[in-house]
């Protein structure tokens, strides 16, 4: 009985081939004459073999996407999140940011377009008015100083 206890203690190591040769010989000698310990060893071996032959499990396909949504947002820097988004798809927040960004970009384009349009129009109007003024003054000079005067002409235009 005492012998059984000391052998039982060694069965696990015996199963793994981790006993010293003398210990192993002692265990094997006992196993030959003790059906109780032999049955214990057999059950242990069957159990361990079943454990080792169990199918390996895997996480679901959406594992990383789900995990990414759960990670605290401050940790990765902005550009890293966007790089990940390009590889794995956008998060809700990034989708919203994208929509805002697109809306803002369209707004800016419209604004620049209309601004240059107004500027062009204003410029055209100013140039026309200026040309009209020039023509008017020039005709006046011609009336009052028919022989021409360089200083009067330049001074008159910048008046």
């Amino acid at each position: 009985m005492r012998k059984c206890q000391s052998v039982e203690w060694r069965l696990s190591a015996y199963l793994d081939g981790q006993l010293q040769p003398t210990d192993r010989a002692a265990v094997e000698a006992h196993l030959r004459e003790c059906p109780k310990c032999a049955a214990m060893l057999r059950a242990m071996r069957v159990g361990v073999e079943a454990l080792r032959s169990m199918r390996t499990t895997e996480v679901s396909d959406a594992f990383w996407q789900r995990l990414r949504e759960r990670l605290p947002q401050e940790k990765p820097t902005g550009w890293q999140r966007w790089v990940t988004a390009l590889r794995w798809g956008w998060t809700e927040r990034q989708q919203a940011a994208c929509r805002r960004l697109a809306a803002a970009a369209i707004g800016v384009v419209i604004l620049i377009g209309s601004w240059t349009g107004v500027k062009n129009y204003q410029g055209r109007v100013a140039a026309e008015q200026y040309a009209e003024q020039c023509a008017e003054r020039h005709s006046l000079y011609l009336v009052h100083q028919p022989f021409g005067d360089a200083t009067a002409l330049s001074g008159g235009l910048s008046e």
């Binding site: 059950a43 454990l51 169990m54 499990t57 890293q80």
Partner: protein, 212 residues
Amino acid sequence: MIPPVPQKVLVMDDAEQALLARCRANDLLAFEEVVHRYKNKVHNYIARMVNDADDAEDLTQDVFVKAFISLGSFRGEASLQTWLYRIATNLCIDRARRRKRQRWDTMSLDEPVRDDEDDEIGRDVPDVEADPYRHLERKELRQQVRRALGRLSEKLRAVIVLYDVQGLSYEEIAQVLGCPLGTVKSRLFNARAELAKHLKPYLYGEGAEPHA
């Protein structure tokens, strides 16, 4: 004799150090790489610890969320794998405690084990295809083993799953659990002995132990 389980490395190699450094620098791509490397190992461990596919997936998520948050406090004294197994073990033990508080009785010990592996075929049983009856036996045996696993305490179950399912060495298990090598060995023996005791009636029939 059962061939020895392949032994795993204990310390971080240079590549893992570099990966960890990138993770600490808030490189999400590096963390993704860590997840990619270890997600299935962690899941497999947890699946054998809790025996519930949905819970295993959620708990595996929790492991990586926790790892991500505590990257700063992990000093690299163990390998990433060891560290992740440690987090997983703690979460499984927490879950068991919560469950025990929720149901006072020991119902969970006797309720039927959910079998999510109906189509499972043993990896190393060549005669399974040839003999359908043996296949059935194997399947039933695995169910018995899972049931027996469920009856072990979390501490014993962790050791036997880490050693016989996940293939860790005694040394790495000692690191995972933060206990001496001798404790790992004695827990492994106790776990295997309990497993054997649960399987004996199934193998030899109720109360029909062989006599000389």
